[in-house]
Symmetry: none
Subunit: 223 residues, 4 copies
């Protein structure tokens, strides 16, 4: 009966954890259930992870690693901001389809009530992408591709907010329903349409009077 846990098995344990936590949430997930489903005993689970929280965090880290890798690959290539945005939106949609549970787990993390834990988690999860986005935007502002009267951090924040909501809207039951409510019952399948629309929204949510947008052209010719 005693079979050493292969790396493969440990992977399975993590995937089981991710699945269960994504499905039921932190509280409702039972360590015994995870162990049983992963085909191991509770004992080993606790051998590898001090307690439920630790195990949860391990599952989260696994997800964020994957996500970061995904992100890095994407941001490695040089792009114009809008191309970045398009690529990111597409990537987020793809990731959401392939790793629904990762997104759900991420959503579960946002429920962390304890501010100290929340700070650590936010740092761990958002640290990389927040810097990445902010940098890209700063560069784009220097090259004149993004209006410079916007704080790069806040710009990145709003931008990520839209991506985040997109992820949740593809993966989490409540957000899915909300998505359908706003955009119709089959919206979840029209990914290209959504991408196109979101891009347009970002370009210019509101039509502005000429007078309102002297800043629009950093070079000044148009206005």
């Amino acid at each position: 009966m005693l079979k050493k846990l292969t790396e493969e098995k440990l992977n399975e344990v993590l995937e089981t954890g991710i699945r269960e936590f994504a499905e039921r949430g932190l509280q409702q997930t039972s360590m015994n259930a995870v162990a049983t489903q992963a085909g191991i005993s509770v004992g080993v689970l606790y051998k590898y992870y001090e307690n439920k929280d630790t195990f949860f965090l391990a599952c989260v880290r696994r997800c964020t690693e994957e996500l970061e890798q995904f992100l890095h690959q994407l941001c490695a290539e040089e792009h114009k901001p809008l191309q970045y945005a398009e690529a990111l939106i597409g990537a987020v949609q793809q990731f959401s389809r392939q790793h629904r549970d990762y997104i759900r787990l991420y959503h579960e993390v946002t429920h962390t009530g304890n501010p100290v834990h929340a700070a650590a988690l936010a740092q761990q999860i958002e640290g990389v992408s927040s810097k990445l986005y902010t940098d890209i935007i700063q560069r784009a502002q220097q090259s004149g591709d993004v209006r410079s009267d916007l704080d790069p951090g806040l710009f990145a924040f709003f931008f990520d907010n839209l991506l985040m909501m997109m992820q949740f809207s593809y993966c989490c039951p409540y957000y899915q329903e909300r998505f359908r409510l706003y955009a119709g019952g089959d919206i979840l399948d029209n990914t290209d349409f959504v991408t196109a629309q979101l891009l347009k929204f970002m370009e210019s949510a509101f039509t502005l009077e000429q007078a309102d947008i002297p800043h629009r052209s950093p070079k000044g010719e148009i206005v």
Copy 2:
């Protein structure tokens, strides 16, 4: 000892529930604790609410009623879209400050795992605002204040996404930390700055080359 539960008392019960659910979440909140804090017995709590879920939903409804009222007041006045947006952003910030627990409770709702419940909740909570926003946008498109090549539902969706994230970012621990990470430690107090920036972001996230925006005019005159 036998006192009929006055409306006032029922109010107190709901407020207690909202506070507890907002603070601890659905699972971690104890019905006994709610009853004790509200100064009633568990028995009556179960007399009025079939079970914990039912009670939770009642608390949620109480919050959404408040929220809707708030929204309706705001949308009653006729405005240009950007003015609407500005008013809404301000309102959201104010509401977040005044009713942190309502927002937290709303956030708690988004964790509903059961799709059926999720659908009912989304309908209940988002039904009004989604219609409201979509209508406003449609009207704005007809009057030419909003580019008409955007789907009004999706536009409303993206718009509400930004507002929603703003609420959470002001009220929920994890999102607060994330907010600070993106925009600096004191961002939570600079509400005016955030409002101004978000408005700009909505106006036009990205500067566009002329060539990039032939679609801007659906009628083609401008370009």
Copy 3:
């Protein structure tokens, strides 16, 4: 099924706890087992006692109360020291026979590893008797019934040590065996003999040369 716990029932719970703790010790006693044996649910047990330790302490207190009462009755009457001693020895033997579990529980208390808890328990359990004994001895010294070159506290301590060991020797398996080993297999039943012998031991364990005992007579006549 829901029957209110009468005072009688609560008594039974305590007695069950005392029995189980006495039988198995603190660690080995299961709260579920106590509840089952007392005919209640674990829930109530935890309603009345915060946790296992608290329940254990309640059981201990119950025992010490009984013991103190027993002691007070005895010490109320004025006696000569040796009469006190005789009365106490007899009382201890009687108490041991009637309340074996109380003594065993007392013995269990002596295993408290945590010095802080130990201090509190010792204070609670020994506080009264230590003062009582010391006072009696001091008075006896003033009246010349006890040699005055002995520290009253230490005298009381040695005296209580002998009583304590007697209790354990009548009640706790290991000490019982040890008792038999020293004094024969049937010693546990010869209580009168033991009393007489212990009294003699206290009177004068060792025969002394005349020269060694000038202090024996506080009045000086004999020597």
Copy 4:
């Protein structure tokens, strides 16, 4: 990795066991922890000792061996009873200081609930000393150094009770507190005072009237 367990290693294992059992007690001590601390694997621990109880007994035996040796050295020399007593009290105090864990382990043994085990243990631990003491006393009675109207076994028993309590009072948390309660906060350091007082207590705990002690002289001259 495969190294034969040297005698030295086995010693270390036993010492670790003694330390842990003394510190935490039988139940609370973990075999895994002992193995880890001793620098071996649980596997070997179970190779050498069938189970936890067996290992515990081995640790106990190790302690009693040491204790017996100590005792034998002391009793080898011929003495008058009071000199023996004084020597023993001093020895016990010294042993308590040097081998606190041995005494604690001994105390742990007294908790054995199972009468069969208790009998075996008592026999093993007390067998030698009970005989030794009883013999010495019998001889002393024959030589007139101890009053002959005392049962030698019981005398030895009472005497050992006092020594035993002294050991515990120097080594075990609860008994230490009790000691301080009776004799003041710094009593644990005043070993000489304690020795002197205990000797006096043994000499003659209570002052007796002439009439009360006709038996004092076994030869009958005095009375």
